[in-house]
């Protein structure tokens, strides 16, 4: 019995500092955000006043907020689509066993770790209409210059491209690791059963990769949903609000409009959306490695 008590004491001593920090800096702010969102709370305009669900009601009728929700959805959809399809294909490319491939793979994944602000800075330069290298490539192909960051229909896709540059290697890396972990014998069995390459791909490889596919897609959805750096550096939400994703709208509302209550209400909406997707992730990874 005293052994059990000793274990408990140790466990408590080891866990509590971390829990303390997480509760103070991570959990409490979320609760506080809910509290703020229930108030009319502005910088330098007197004391906060309780307002119930007024901020949420306003959000419901706020066309700019609705637009931001759709812009975010569009950005997340196209970014994750491109990153997943290309990254998935690249995993198979880098899985070809040739000397030198491992080194090439290690170099290809470098963009994952690049500071997002720097990625925004460099792509901003490359997309420049007057001296940017991408427009130079466009003119080489004989087309007229494109306003990559100023054209209403193009700007969001320019941001998708910069995001895909950074995160496609991430999908590739994860899918590559998943491919590597597939046991050899299933392929031998598939061969013995007379499956051709295409059949093996659809009936053996894809089903076995499905858990990793789900994980990488959910991670990318949640991650691209919080993207703000590229917008900050490249478009500041423009042109005409076409790249105003939710994080940017929240930032502008809170720290340029100084309407903290309203910004907190947006934050709560974002947290709800993320929580829904996160539950999928947690359900996926939770009960695999843990049932020992």
């Amino acid at each position: 019995m005293s052994l059990l008590r000793e274990k408990r004491k140790i466990a408590f001593a080891m866990i509590s500092p971390s829990i303390l920090v997480i509760v103070a800096i991570n959990i409490f702010p979320i609760i506080f955000a809910v509290y703020i969102s229930l108030h009319l709370w502005s910088f330098g305009r007197g004391e906060p006043r309780f307002a119930g669900l007024l901020n949420y009601e306003d959000l419901y009728y706020d066309g700019r907020f609705i637009d931001a929700v759709f812009t975010s959805a569009k950005f997340v959809f196209f970014a994750v689509l491109v990153e997943f399809l290309v990254g998935f294909a690249l995993a198979f490319l880098f899985n070809v066993k040739v000397r030198g491939m491992a080194t090439l793979r290690q170099v290809a994944v470098l963009p994952i770790m690049v500071m997002p602000i720097v990625a925004g800075l460099v792509w901003f330069y490359m997309f420049n209409e007057n001296f940017g290298v991408i427009n130079w490539l466009v003119t080489l192909l004989g087309a007229p210059k494109v306003g990559f960051l100023t054209d209403l229909d193009v700007a969001l896709f320019s941001i998708v491209l910069a995001d895909a540059w950074q995160w496609t290697p991430f999908v590739m890396l994860v899918m590559f690791a998943a491919l590597q972990s597939l046991p050899e014998y299933v392929y031998e069995a598939a061969k013995m059963d007379g499956l051709n390459g295409w059949q093996t791909f659809w009936r053996v490889t894809i089903p076995m990769l499905r858990p990793s596919i789900m994980i990488v897609i959910i991670l990318r959805i949640v991650d691209s949903f919080k993207m703000i750096e590229l917008v900050f550096m490249m478009t500041q939400g423009g042109p005409a609000g076409r790249t105003e994703v939710l994080p940017w709208y929240l930032y502008v509302t809170g720290f340029q409009g100084l309407d903290l209550g309203y910004a907190a209400a947006i934050a709560v909406c974002m947290l709800i959306i993320v929580t829904i997707f996160t539950q999928f992730f947690v359900a996926r990874i939770g009960f695999g490695d843990d049932q020992k």
């Binding site: 880098f94 602000i117 939710l246 020992k292």
Partner: protein, 283 residues
């Protein structure tokens, strides 16, 4: 050379095609970094030239401007802040996190799994959702524009990640070694420090490097809660528009220093990168 030449040449063609395609991918990955470095090394007239110049005589003028005289603002202070905040928050996150991870893996209690999930899920909250409450909290205790504020926030941000990933690493090592050490008279703390921790060294290295990268690269909260004294490199770089879009070379030069150390780490970290980046979900 070999008698069986046909499959070999087929193989070589496939290999050559794959290598060629892989080189194109690598080229695309490296191209923006190449642009960054060359822009930093270009004279101003080359930066704004049309068509873009590919051959130019490199100059270190932009580096000199950025680090020695540029705008009266001293980049080195930002760089120092970044290093200090990254190092302190990483040490704290890995130090505290490894203890919690060990306890969760070795002394399971009722609800410990739910606690672990809960800790993990805090990691997915978008940082932008924190800017309003964190700003008000830190302001009320006078921590705005202090190193401590960012150290605390990054420690917390990385703790959930470190705990979750290291918990998997601890669960993977055989418990018999620790039991044997207990029999030999080690205390529980000694077992943790001298037996368990050394066995998860790869996990410690991986989580430490990833934590450092997260802290080093983080922009949004740094931009909100620091102004000058504790501002980090991403905050400096985000001031680009304040240069009226003119100082490309200087900002690219600073960007180079913001990216280069991380690139070197990443290149050598490969082995546990996936496990860290997917929170242990994919190995």
């Amino acid at each position: 050379m070999t008698s069986d030449s046909k499959p070999i040449s087929q193989f070589n063609l496939r290999a050559a095609l794959a290598l060629g395609a892989a080189c194109v991918v690598v080229g695309f990955s490296l191209f923006p970094l190449y642009i960054m470095i060359t822009t930093a090394l270009k004279a101003e007239s080359d930066i704004f030239s049309w068509p873009p110049t590919w051959t130019f005589s490199p100059t270190l003028q932009a580096f000199k401007n950025a680090f020695l005289l540029f705008g009266g603002q001293n980049v080195l202070v930002f760089l120092f802040n970044s290093v200090l905040i990254t190092a302190a928050s990483t040490a704290l996150a890995v130090g505290l996190g490894s203890m919690a991870a060990y306890a969760l893996a070795r002394f399971p209690f009722r609800g410990s799994k739910h606690l672990a999930f809960f800790i993990l899920s805090t990691r997915f909250a978008p940082p932008v959702a924190f800017i309003v409450p964190i700003y008000l909290m830190f302001r009320s205790v006078g921590l705005i524009d202090t190193h401590l504020a960012l150290i605390l926030f990054y420690t917390s941000m990385n703790l959930s990640f470190v705990i979750w990933v290291l918990r998997g690493f601890f669960a993977d090592i055989p418990i018999e070694l620790e039991e044997a050490a207990l029999v030999d008279g080690y205390t529980r703390w000694q077992v943790f420090l001298r037996v368990a921790l050394p066995l998860v060294r790869p996990g410690l290295v991986a989580t430490a490097i990833l934590s450092a990268v997260f802290a080093w690269n983080e922009f949004l909260l740094a931009n909100i809660i620091t102004q000058r004294d504790a501002a980090t490199i991403p905050v400096y770089l985000s001031g680009f528009s304040a240069s009226m879009g003119i100082a490309w070379g200087e900002y690219m030069a600073v960007g180079f220093f913001a990216v280069a150390p991380i690139m070197i780490f990443t290149f050598f970290l490969q082995r546990h990168l996936v496990r860290g980046l997917t929170f242990g979900a994919v190995r």
